[in-house]
């Protein structure tokens, strides 16, 4: 495993609490460091504040207490890629138009946009679909467009909010494999939110298990299998053992009382 323990933190959360206007406490005392080049999964039951934590890291939401900081700069410079639960594409423009959006908003030159969009579409396996409209694509392909759009700016930090939750299992495995290949190839820093134990073990170097609402870190689990991982890893006893440990941690987290 490539060790990232000594790498600089990309985003740091210290004593973060989030209370919504209606009084719901989504997150309580969350401490977390995400280091450069790391693939971290936030694993927890539905409604445990995982998505809220991700929105805090994207600066889409402000912490009620505590601090969220980006030591290398980041949030302010738009150097964060975000993949939502839904593909969230603009239906009125093509695949290329959707993927080009972050660059266009930054005012990048047209030639550069064209080249980068073409390259990133190839990376996610959508070469040849540039001119298609979102409604012509399957759910899995739409999600690939969404990932391409997040990658097109080569962000310092990629945040993914249960991106494959709505897909069927076959598509999900395929996308997990491809995301794995992409992440290990690009050496990106990824924070991935999921409630699937299997997905979290397969993808990440570190699993952060969260408690039910209000969410905080219950346990951390390092997955020390080397990248890139493929179907061989998914069927190995090692994988099964990790999944059992992660499941146990999740079950224990579910039983904690705030």
């Amino acid at each position: 495993m490539t060790t990232t323990a000594g790498a600089p933190a990309v985003v740091t959360l210290r004593g973060v609490e989030k209370v919504f206007a209606d009084g719901t406490q989504a997150i309580a005392r969350l401490d977390l460091d995400v280091r450069a080049g790391e693939f971290v999964t936030l694993l927890g039951p539905s409604g445990c504040g995982k998505s809220t934590a991700l929105r805090l890291m994207a600066a889409l939401s402000d912490a009620t207490r505590g601090t969220v900081s980006w030591p290398g700069g980041g949030a302010a410079h738009g150097e964060i890629g975000f993949v939502f639960q839904e593909p969230t594409l603009m239906p009125w423009t093509t695949v290329a138009g959707n993927v080009a959006l972050p660059l266009k908003l930054k005012g990048a030159p047209t030639a550069e946009i064209t080249a980068r969009v073409e390259k990133v579409l190839e990376q996610v396996g959508l070469a040849g679909f540039a001119a298609a409209y979102p409604r012509q694509l399957s759910g899995g392909m739409k999600m690939r467009v969404s990932i391409a759009r997040a990658l097109v700016t080569t962000p310092r930090l990629l945040l993914m909010d249960e991106p494959f939750a709505a897909l069927d299992e076959i598509t999900r495995f395929k996308l997990n494999n491809d995301l794995m290949a992409l992440a290990s190839g690009l050496g990106m820093t990824v924070v991935f939110v999921t409630h699937s134990v299997f997905e979290s073990v397969f993808l990440s170097q570190r699993i952060v298990v969260m408690t039910p609402r209000p969410g905080r870190v219950f346990a951390e689990l390092a997955i020390e299998a080397p990248y890139p991982r493929g179907d061989a890893f998914r069927t190995s006893p090692e994988y099964a053992a990790y999944c059992r440990r992660a499941s146990e941690a999740l079950s224990a987290a579910m039983e904690t009382r705030p």
Binding site: A58, F82, L101, L105
Partner: protein, 270 residues
């Protein structure tokens, strides 16, 4: 078996949907004709369909001129309604203060019957402008209301994405809000087309009774005073046709604008 049947059934359905209204029209015309014929109703009470058609042909030059006048007003009203409705919607969307200050009066303008406003406008404005103002007043509200709804119906995640990319206010408006609002805007325009015609007609009638004007509605009023009932019917028929054409033209426009991406315009194979 069923799959083979489907295209044929679909075609039969289409033919029926076209043929049945025409058949009903034919039957209605026949009944109308017979009622006039059997009872020997004089034309100044109720002209038969033949006489109306005949009048349409013989009076064509004068009716055509009037139709052009009314249509010009209608389209000018519609265009102003589009500009004014979308413009106001954008203004309201950009500034809460302006929205809270002015929106109630847009509603007041909408709920006050146009027939009651027209005579007043005729006092203060030259006749052509007064008619145009009436067409605009009734037509702009559906554009405003629908565009406002559209601008507020933006996907929350897309809004977050734009924020994350550091989009400016103008970028959010032109690249996100306006495209999202387009289907709503076009739907409002479809409603506004018919209403603009109604506004123009109402104002022409009001103006006509004041002794000026040359639009189709004025012809109807004038023919009424002269007991030229066949021409009244002919002008009325022409107005209906104009309304239908406007509706279909705007529907087609909307379809062309949305056909590549919006669910309402996309044809699906079953």
């Amino acid at each position: 078996m069923n799959e083979l049947d489907t295209p044929a059934r679909a075609r039969r359905e289409r033919i029926l949907r076209l043929a049945l209204p025409l058949l009903a029209l034919l039957l209605g015309g026949l009944v109308w004709h017979l009622v006039v014929k059997v009872n020997d109703v004089p034309p100044y009470v109720l002209p038969g369909p033949g006489l109306v058609a005949n009048t349409l042909v013989t009076d064509w030059p004068i009716l055509w001129q009037s139709l052009l006048v009314t249509l010009t007003t209608t389209f000018q009203g519609l265009l102003l309604a589009l500009v004014g409705g979308v413009g106001l919607a954008i203004l309201f969307n950009q500034s809460r203060l302006v929205e809270y200050s002015l929106y109630p009066y847009a509603v007041v303008l909408q709920v006050t019957p146009i027939v009651a406003i027209a005579p007043l406008l005729l006092i203060y404005l030259p006749q052509h402008l007064a008619v145009l103002a009436c067409a605009w007043i009734v037509a702009f509200f559906p554009v405003l209301a629908n565009t406002t709804l559209g601008l507020n119906s933006v996907d929350h995640n897309l809004r977050d994405l734009f924020r994350l990319c550091g989009a400016t206010r103008a970028q959010v408006l032109f690249r996100l809000k306006l495209p999202s609002a387009l289907p709503f805007m076009l739907e409002g325009l479809k409603i506004a087309g018919g209403l603009s015609l109604i506004g123009a007609v109402v104002a022409e009638i009001a103006a006509g009774s004041a002794g000026a004007g040359s639009g189709l509605a004025y012809r109807i009023a004038e023919s009424g005073y002269r007991l030229n009932i066949p021409r009244m019917f002919a002008a009325l028929l022409l107005l209906s046709l104009a309304g239908i054409v406007i509706f279909f033209a705007l529907s087609l426009f909307s379809h062309v604008m949305l056909r590549r991406w919006h669910e309402s315009a996309v044809e699906r194979e079953s």
